[in-house]
């Protein structure tokens, strides 16, 4: 008789063996200590060169997306800037990938790898565009696909964008396990991986992140070709960290050593991500601080033993914007630039408006993604849902936004201003989390060296902070 224990504790206890079987990666090969691991060797061992990745992605309708100059928005920013200020704003139209977002880059290499290794199907646990991307890539590689998605609260109500994302997965032929609110999504993923023997298309494997590197390569060559220089700033919507990590790695591989990497998330501080009651009080389902901050300050909180997405390793600056500011800029993109696009890319576009205002006119700021929009995803749909759920929606000063209570849409472009996060505070918070894995007293040179690289700081910086962590 089959006596497998499927209780929460038992399944979580089998995590490592389930992961090893479902990925074909033995993380023990790279791990150096409870904190440190050989990151670059892990990334290289995927065995794919950039030329391979470009070819694989070309087979399944991924990559070579247009890079547009937003002339009218740039002009509008210049009108409100100091003389000589107002950088050129570009946008990489990632909605043009199969399934409508940059996530196709991420899923494409996993799907190729799963097919190559002879897996019958692939599974991903996600409430984002990644589900649709995995489903679309799996379909093209003749793999079965299961998406495990957090969809509804205890009343059975799903935020319209989440519902749309689930619909898209089903449209591409996936089986969608629609779950109620809770972090047990990971338990459900493990259980399903074990039951099916499918490939784990985790967002956080080296395959997932390396697939995004082509986005950085394309931005570098696109900007150089048209403007004869490297991009000055690339602004990236930040949640789990893969988008930032992969894009920055691609830019660095292309030699853009001086391009400033700016992360941007929607400020949802005060809302609890595992709360059933807060679930439907968010107008953004990703790209927000509920993911962005915890993933930056401890990347290894994920469904693989070591996360390939390590945002602080590449991040120079982190901007926060309010929901109201993003909705305003989304509407400007539509009405002034003739592009109707979904929420994720518009988060970084909002930060780009703020950044461009402070940059010189001969500089270039690149918004590195867009995503598709439509029923459920559209900002009108979000605002209408928010209003029905008792959230105040009005025009005014965006500083009056209160996540979960009030969405204040700016009255004028001058009011789009965002807020810069303190990078050193984030880095210190990361070190505190590292100290929870391994007490500071036990950190070796290897740990200090790893932590310095992972935080884009010197080893001396890490050593100076160590006494405060004891």
């Amino acid at each position: 008789m089959n006596t497998i224990d499927n209780s929460y504790t038992a399944v979580m206890g089998r995590k490592n063996e389930i992961m090893k079987a479902s990925l074909g990666i033995d993380y023990d090969d790279f791990i150096l200590s409870p904190v440190a691991f050989d990151y670059e060797r892990m990334m290289q061992q995927t065995g794919y060169s950039h030329a391979d990745i470009v070819r694989i992605q070309g087979e399944t309708k991924v990559g070579n997306t247009p890079l547009y100059e937003l002339r009218n928005l740039t002009a509008a920013v210049r009108r409100i800037s100091e003389p000589g200020k107002g950088a050129v704003i570009l946008v990489k139209d990632e909605a043009a990938n199969a399934s409508g977002s940059f996530k196709a880059r991420r899923a494409s290499i996993s799907a190729y790898e799963a097919a190559r290794k002879g897996y019958k199907g692939m599974i991903a646990a996600t409430s984002g565009n990644y589900g649709a991307a995995v489903a679309s890539q799996a379909a093209q590689r003749s793999l079965k696909c299961i998406i495990v998605q957090e969809v509804f609260d205890n009343r059975g109500v799903g935020q319209p964008e989440i519902v749309e994302k689930g619909r898209a997965c089903e449209a591409y032929g996936a089986e969608v396990l629609k779950m109620s609110v809770g972090p047990e999504l990971f338990y459900m993923l493990l259980l399903t991986l074990e039951e099916t023997g499918f490939f784990n298309a985790s967002l956080y494997t080296p395959f997932g992140v390396r697939g995004i590197e082509t986005l950085g390569l394309e931005i570098a060559s696109g900007v150089r070709e048209r403007y004869g220089k490297d991009p000055d700033v690339v602004v990236i919507t930040h949640a789990g960290g893969g988008n930032l990590t992969g894009t920055a790695r691609g830019l660095l591989a292309a030699g853009c050593d001086h391009t400033r990497i700016v992360a941007c998330s929607v400020d949802l501080s005060g809302l609890h991500m595992a709360s059933d009651g807060d679930f439907n009080r968010k107008s953004f389902t990703t790209g927000h601080t509920g993911f962005g901050v915890p993933f930056a300050t401890w990347p290894d909180r994920v469904d693989v033993p070591r996360n390939a997405a390590r945002s602080l390793r590449y991040m120079d600056e982190y901007q926060l914007v309010t929901q109201g500011e993003v909705f305003y800029v989304t509407e400007l993109l539509t009405k002034m630039e003739g592009l109707e696009r979904g929420p994720a890319g518009n988060i970084s576009l909002t930060a780009a408006v703020t950044l461009a205002r402070q940059m010189d006119q001969d500089q270039v700021v690149v918004v590195q993604e867009t995503e598709y929009t439509g029923a459920g995803k559209h900002h009108n749909s979000q605002l209408s849902f928010a209003r029905e759920n008792g959230i105040e929606v009005r025009r005014g000063d965006p500083r009056d936004n209160v996540p979960g209570k009030a969405i204040v849409i700016p009255e004028r472009l001058e009011q789009v201003w965002g807020m810069v996060q303190d990078m050193d505070r984030l880095r210190l918070s990361y070190l505190k989390n590292a100290a929870r894995q391994l007490p500071v007293g036990s950190w070796t040179e290897i740990d200090v060296s790893f932590l310095a690289s992972d935080l884009k700081v010197t080893q001396d910086w890490v050593r100076q902070k160590m006494p405060d962590l004891l």
Binding site: E184, A274, Y328, K335, L383
Partner: protein, 94 residues
């Protein structure tokens, strides 16, 4: 209650974890409700709404649960017009 015919596209619901079985350290509102899954598929045998049922999903897996919806569909939309958005980016606003 009327029987739903085998072969019909339906959605079932299954309690994966009861409140007592759920992960530790959940916020209070989440902790007191069960962890629930819904999934769609073709009904394998005739069943009643609200009764036990078995399905075959679109990728061919067999699953069981309480029959919840017949011919499940999507009705999410663009929402009711939000007047606050209308003038943004027009001559009237800039």
């Amino acid at each position: 209650m009327a029987q739903i015919q085998a072969g019909t596209w339906v959605e079932i619901e299954q309690v994966i974890l009861t409140p007592e079985q759920r992960a530790p350290s959940l916020p209070e509102d989440t902790r007191k409700v069960p962890y629930v899954m819904r999934v769609s598929g073709f009904l394998l045998e005739p069943a009643e709404l609200g009764g036990d049922s078995r399905i075959r999903t679109i990728i061919g897996r067999e699953m069981s649960g309480v029959l919840k919806t017949v011919n499940p569909s999507y009705s999410h939309s663009f929402g009711s017009t939000v007047p606050e958005l209308l003038k943004i980016g027009t001559q009237a606003d800039l």
